[in-house]
């Protein structure tokens, strides 16, 4: 396929890895620890595991898998609210596949479905509108989640529902915003990340400027990266070059998709229907100010939280669950006490085990973990 195969050329990867090794070795020696680079986006986490990129890298560079998987950071209380809506007799709940398996305090959407709730997997929010048209006597709810990447599609769907006069459609909105999230991670204690691979598809919506503060204030380089193996390697190399030069700035490796100013139509749709929530609860990270959005007053009629009674109870993460530490890069997934034991992709305890964009599931699925102990031990000690 065009613009895919070219970015999977193994000979180019070899050359990049040599360059990465040369730079990372020097930088790691200066620091007395490996260089830590965080990929913020779950899509990158997925690619990194799928193509075995970690195994190609020298020990002098360490990838930290950040909080950018929207399914993974959804808190238990929100899942419970969603299940409560789905179990309402007049409701048909629609959502993306991954979201169906996130554990709630009692059950996931998938379990609710097996108990008789009408829960349907859709590819696009527009499919939910089709279901609404076909079922006029039902209330169709779209369980919307994701960062700015998926926010425009949800916003446009609400606008289309309004334009078509569809009244039996509403949104259970769990969209989150990237900038407050990165800021919260940067401000957290024990944070030892030297640079970032910036999220490619969030950036195609918001552009490159919103990241300026990371270079200016936090003095960390950010390279907005594509998702093919060579994109990721090239971006990593660019981060290391910036670190070596000691001059952090925002660079755009993914310029074939990411315009500097973002996408005007997408941003406009977002600002028409959404407003910031004062705060939003995250699994593993706690509450982060202004990190979520909700429908504004003008579109309140499409808000499932107003149409349905939801429990809206905040529920703490299970005690044994260490998702928060994994999300901040403090521990590696397999260092979590329940990893691979009480928590597996079949029986996820924490949300990082649910989606292939979550670090724990990715490790589990693609065979990372304790057998790489010599390498990871080194890092574990450093991170502790």
């Amino acid at each position: 396929m065009k613009y895919v195969d070219e970015y999977r050329d193994p000979t180019k990867a070899d050359k990049l890895i040599k360059e990465i090794t040369r730079l990372a070795d020097t930088l790691a020696e200066q620091r007395g620890r490996p260089v830590n680079v965080m990929e913020v986006c779950g899509g990158h986490t997925h690619s990194i595991f799928r193509y075995g990129i970690e195994n190609m890298l020298p020990q002098s560079v360490e990838l930290i898998h950040g909080p950018g998987c929207p399914v993974c950071v959804l808190p238990i209380g929100r899942v419970d609210d969603c299940v409560a809506i789905a179990e309402d007799e007049k409701a048909i709940m629609t959502t993306f596949g991954d979201a169906m398996r996130v554990p709630g305090s009692k059950r996931s959407l998938l379990q609710a479905k097996s108990l008789g709730a009408d829960v349907r997997m859709v590819y696009s929010p527009l499919d939910a509108l089709k279901i609404a048209r076909a079922n006029p006597d039902k209330e169709i709810v779209f369980f919307g989640l994701g960062f700015e990447t998926t926010m425009p599609s949800t916003a446009l769907t609400v606008l289309k529902a309004e334009a078509a006069g569809i009244r039996n459609f509403s949104l259970f909105c769990n969209h989150i915003t990237i900038i407050p999230t990165i800021k919260a991670v940067l401000d957290s204690e024990d944070f030892q990340v030297d640079g970032f691979l910036g999220p490619g598809h969030v950036s195609m919506v918001i552009g490159t400027r919103p990241y300026d503060f990371i270079a200016e204030h936090y003095r960390r380089p950010v390279v907005i990266s594509g998702f093919e193996p060579l994109d990721i390697l090239q971006s990593l190399w660019m981060v290391l070059k910036q670190l070596d030069a000691g001059h952090p700035y925002i660079e755009n490796q993914y310029s074939r998709v990411v315009p500097e100013d973002g996408n005007h139509a997408a941003l406009q749709a977002i600002s028409r229907v959404f407003e910031l929530r004062p705060f939003f609860e995250w699994r593993g990270l706690g509450s982060i100010d202004h990190s979520g959005v909700q429908l504004n007053a003008r579109y309140a009629a499409y808000d499932a939280e107003r149409k349905f009674a939801v429990p809206a109870v905040a529920i703490a993460d299970p005690k044994a669950c260490q998702c928060g530490e994994v999300l901040k890069g403090i521990i590696k997934p397999w260092q979590c006490k329940v990893y691979g034991k009480a928590c597996t992709p079949q029986t996820p305890m924490g949300a990082l085990m649910v989606s292939s964009e979550g670090a724990c599931a990715a490790y589990y699925q693609y065979g990372g973990g304790p057998h790489q102990a010599s390498h990871d031990d080194l890092v574990g000690e450093n991170a502790a």
């Binding site: 950018g68 998702f227 490796q253």
Partner: protein, 92 residues
Amino acid sequence: MCLGIPGKIVAISDAVQLLGIVDVGGIQRSVDLSCVAQDFASLDSLIGHWVLVHVGFAMSVIDEAEAQATLAVLTELGQVQEELIAMQEGQS
């Protein structure tokens, strides 16, 4: 969910609703073009362009020149040069 997929716009199916048909690896599906129509004088001029498709919405027109530029940087890293020459020779 956050991984988009590149596809080629092959037709406009509903100009009012801004819907088009996009070929993604041989599979054709209806895709919303609201986010990419802005930069084009007419919807029809979108046909033939590659876009990044995300949950049923075309979110970005893939910039051919930028794609080439990124590949050029990778190429400059060397090694592949010979291979490219061999490829070109093979084609002529």
